[in-house]
């Protein structure tokens, strides 16, 4: 009898639902969870947007001046809140990390998805999971202890590439200190590697098996299949992976701050110190007081970071829409 009742309940055959069923607690709980998540995001967006515009509304700084290269809140003629060095630094360090990390990650994803025997997968996948779990402070600590002195000691002089007959083809000043754009990009490239790898791996796995077998049946090599079938088929997924990696890199603060030197000037060379939005916010937030123009400028920088992250979410959705459409 009891079994019959539960079967009726599942198929909805019973005419009058019980009180418990009419309240439907589980559905309400998940609805509240979803609604509160949306509410928190909406409140966060509203709060940061409100704080971010105070610099212009309350402190009377004109919007144009923040896109100057001079950051000097203590300037004699009044504060100068040019946040261009931070925006440029964030873009530079992030781009450097993606240039280093993308080929490695996509290669690793292809290896795991197409090439690796099961025993190799059994080693590489847990290794990647450990990578994800390592806190950013550990990467920064390693960076400042190992990477920074290594860069300064190894590439301290001018970096010159010469070819026979042609002579010097490339030269640049070396590292005065190891604290640099390159150090930041290297540390970040390791941190975004698991993100890009796992999302691209899923993209490669999502390519239908028929495409692989069909291609191989036509007599192509494995490399030709990867190059002409798999990569085009999974391209939108790989792009999504890179954008997600970019978001992660642009938002990272601690590890980057420890190795980039935080010099508030426009990025000039990969051997020179730079600064980023996140790093300057953490440097100044404890030393400024709520409501002063200086801290309002930090909120504006947070707003810029938020816009970067919103833009990348929109980008990911556009990429996925194209994939669905095609």
């Amino acid at each position: 009898m009891a079994q019959l009742t539960s079967a009726q309940r599942i198929t909805g055959l019973r005419a009058t639902p019980s009180l418990l069923e009419r309240i439907d607690l589980p559905r309400r709980v998940v609805f509240v969870a979803a609604a509160s998540m949306v509410a928190i995001v909406a409140l966060l967006l509203a709060f940061i947007a409100w704080q971010g515009i105070q610099l212009f509304v309350k402190d009377g700084v004109s919007v144009g001046t923040i896109f100057s290269a001079t950051w000097n809140p203590l300037a004699d003629g009044g504060p100068q809140f040019g946040i261009l060095p931070f925006i440029a630094g964030t873009i530079a360090v992030t781009a450097g990390a993606l240039v280093i990390s993308t080929p490695l990650s996509v290669g690793l994803a292809l290896f795991l998805s197409e090439v690796a025997p099961s025993w190799a997968k059994a080693i590489v996948q847990p290794a990647l999971e450990i990578f994800v779990g390592i806190p950013s402070v550990v990467w920064g600590w390693l960076g400042i202890t190992v990477l920074v002195p290594f860069l300064a000691d190894t590439f301290g002089g001018s970096i010159v590439i010469s070819l026979p007959i042609v002579g010097r083809v490339f030269s640049m000043p070396g590292f005065l200190t190891g604290f640099s754009w390159l150090a930041g990009s290297l540390v970040l490239s390791i941190m975004v590697l698991p993100t890009i790898t796992s999302v691209s791996y899923d993209a490669f796995r999502a390519v239908p098996q028929e495409l692989r077998t069909g291609s191989l049946a036509l007599g192509t090599t494995r490399w030709q299949t990867i190059r002409h079938i798999l990569i085009p088929a999974a391209l939108t997924g790989v792009l999504t992976a890179v954008v997600l990696g970019m978001t992660r890199a642009a938002g990272e603060a601690l590890a980057v701050q420890m190795v980039i030197g935080n010099s508030p000037t426009l990025p000039a060379s990969i051997t020179q110190p730079v600064t980023t939005l996140t790093s300057q916010i953490t440097l100044d937030m404890g030393n400024t007081v709520f409501g002063e123009p200086w801290q309002d400028a930090l909120w504006t920088m947070s707003l810029v970071l938020l816009l970067i992250s919103v833009t990348s979410v929109v980008l990911v959705r556009m990429i996925n829409k194209r994939r669905m459409g095609s």
């Binding site: 203590l74 604290f179 701050q257 030197g261 508030p264 000039a268 440097l283 404890g286 030393n287």
Partner: protein, 319 residues
């Protein structure tokens, strides 16, 4: 960070020792009633002596129960922490929570009324809008000094004059050989512009001159991060608080320089001959009352001024 850990363990050890004495002083009346012939009492007279020694050392402590929080300047944090530990050792019903966050955090939190004490290296009027600053009451509890330090590789430089410092920090002098050192580029390691340490150095030594920016400059977050960066970077120079320089873990890794030929010592800070020194300010929102007042009086009293301040490398206030 390792260094901070050591410091915290030290503070814990002090706290543990004080808890032990407090317990034994509370138990002291009973041993006197015990007959001297009983065997377990053989060990107790020493406990009574140490308890009475503690009691005689702290006649000026007014105990008020309750709990308060002090936040702000990391340069003052070691002192406030040690004083809080000592006060809680004397007065079991008092809880004093101490944390850092920076001078700006200390000032804004105390102005908002979120905490009872805000610690700052700089005067409130220089940070807060005047309406908020005028509500705050300043309690000067110590003199603090800063020292110019260099990487160990900068040999032969033991003193920089004010003029040399200005030339170095504004980017006019860029090689150590120009000030008697090796042929090595100078790397400037700053604290952020918002930092109290940087503001004090700029005002007292640089005379307000604009510091250099660009490829030869780094910016680090805290005294600890600066110490790490100076030890790792050839030709680097920076400014740190005495309490961090005199930490036995840091001192062997750094060269501490004289300023205008004056040694960076607490005695010279107190005597006024060493000019890179300023008051450590603890702010309250309105006049201090209750536990806050008792704790601030304790900080100005003989135990903190005479014992804890020299131990932590601060200078006492003029009595």
């Amino acid at each position: 960070m390792l260094l901070n850990g050591t410091r915290r363990f030290g503070a814990l050890a002090v706290a543990a020792a004080l808890v032990v004495t407090a317990c034994s002083s509370g138990a002291s009346p009973s041993p006197t009633t015990l007959p001297p012939t009983s065997t377990p009492a053989a060990g107790t007279p020493s406990v009574v002596t140490s308890a009475s020694a503690t009691a005689s050392a702290a006649p000026s402590v007014t105990c008020v129960t309750g709990s308060i929080t002090a936040v702000g300047s990391t340069a003052l944090q070691p002192l406030i922490q040690d004083a809080a530990t000592a006060y809680q050792g004397h007065c079991s019903g008092a809880t004093i929570t101490v944390s850092g966050g920076g001078s700006g955090t200390g000032l804004s939190q105390v102005a908002q009324g979120s905490v009872q004490i805000g610690a700052s290296d700089v005067l409130a009027a220089s940070k807060l809008p005047s309406a908020n600053a005028s509500k705050l009451v300043d309690h000067v509890v110590a003199r603090q000094g800063w020292i110019v330090v260099t990487n160990k590789g900068v040999t032969g430089v033991t003193n920089l004059t004010t003029a040399q410092n200005v030339a170095i920090w504004t980017g006019k002098t860029t090689n150590w050989k120009d000030v008697g050192g090796p042929d090595l580029p100078i790397v400037l390691i700053f604290r952020p512009q918002s930092s109290g340490t940087r503001a004090t150095f700029k005002a007292l030594v640089l005379g307000g001159a604009t510091e250099a920016t660009g490829g030869q400059t780094l910016t680090e977050d805290s005294n600890g991060a600066v110490t790490t960066a100076v030890t790792k970077t050839n030709g680097s120079v920076s400014v740190i608080g005495f309490s961090y320089y005199n930490d036995p873990n840091n001192k062997p890794l750094l060269n501490g320089l004289q300023l205008d030929g004056v040694d960076a010592t607490i005695a010279n800070v107190g005597g006024g001959t060493y000019k890179l020194a300023a008051d450590g300010n603890l702010y309250t929102n309105g006049e201090a009352t209750g536990l806050t007042k008792a704790f601030l009086d304790f900080m100005k009293g003989p135990e903190v001024q005479g014992t804890i301040i020299p131990k932590d490398s601060y200078g006492p206030i003029a009595q």
